[in-house]
């Protein structure tokens, strides 16, 4: 079975500090990995994705993530956060089975950026 574990439910940081949101996945086959962001009272927006190729993936709003196959991780990073980055972040993995596919999410990490 494939699943996603987000190791921190809440991450408070100060403005302009670096941040890392951790995500581990379990999978025995090739993976497609995603990070989504949800701002308060809004829907989900794709931040970045890993399908194949370079293990360092750059996304929108200055975020990047590194795919590490040996550690089965896909951690999200930003070198300097802004107040506007306050949101909930979700890691997800695409599962393909029996000719169909679905997206499985972690439980989310709430990032709070304080002044």
């Amino acid at each position: 079975a494939q699943s996603v574990t987000q190791l921190d439910s809440q991450v408070p940081v100060f403005e302009e500090a670096p941040v890392e949101l951790r995500c581990n996945y379990s999978s025995s086959v090739s993976v497609y990995l995603f990070w989504y962001v949800q701002y308060p009272n809004q829907g989900l927006q794709l931040l970045l994705k890993y399908l194949s190729g370079s293990t360092l993936v750059k996304g929108i709003n200055g975020f990047e993530a590194e795919f590490n196959k040996s550690q089965t991780s896909f951690h999200l990073r930003k070198p300097s956060v802004h107040i506007s980055d306050t949101a909930e972040y979700f890691c997800a993995v695409k599962i393909t089975q029996g000719g169909s596919e679905k997206l499985v999410f972690g439980k989310g990490t709430k990032l709070t950026v304080n002044p």
Binding site: F34, K49, L51, F90, G99, S100, E101, L103, K107, G108
Partner: protein, 116 residues
């Protein structure tokens, strides 16, 4: 989000009544999904569809049914609503395959359902 709409946006209903939520897409995507979002649980898959009349269960399908008679519409029905089904429901669409992966999954704006 462009190309996907959910209705209604908000609904309050009484325990034991049937409720149907609608997801409509204009992208002609093959896959459509229904998730529910609850604090501390992230998004959990209820049901999904990989084509007209082709559906399958997700991890939290009990108490829900779905139908997809047209490519563009995916309906989620709560046959007899319970308070535990109070949640925010999101629909998502995808082309599937590597192209779908490149595009990611597109989510609707959500339906906030309260069962009293």
């Amino acid at each position: 989000d462009a190309g996907i709409t959910q209705s209604p946006r908000h609904k309050v209903t009484e325990t034991g009544t049937p409720v149907t939520l609608r997801c409509h897409q204009t992208e002609n995507h093959r896959y459509m999904y229904w998730y529910r979002q609850d604090p501390g649980h992230g998004l959990r898959l209820i049901h999904y569809s990989y084509g007209v009349k082709d559906t399958d269960k997700g991890e939290v399908s009990d108490g829900y049914s779905v139908s997809r008679s047209k490519t563009e519409d995916f309906l989620l029905t709560l046959e007899s609503a319970t308070s535990s089904q109070t949640s925010v429901y999101f629909c998502a669409i995808s082309q599937g395959g590597r192209v779908g992966g490149m595009d990611g999954y597109t989510f609707g704006s959500g339906t906030r359902l309260t069962v009293v």
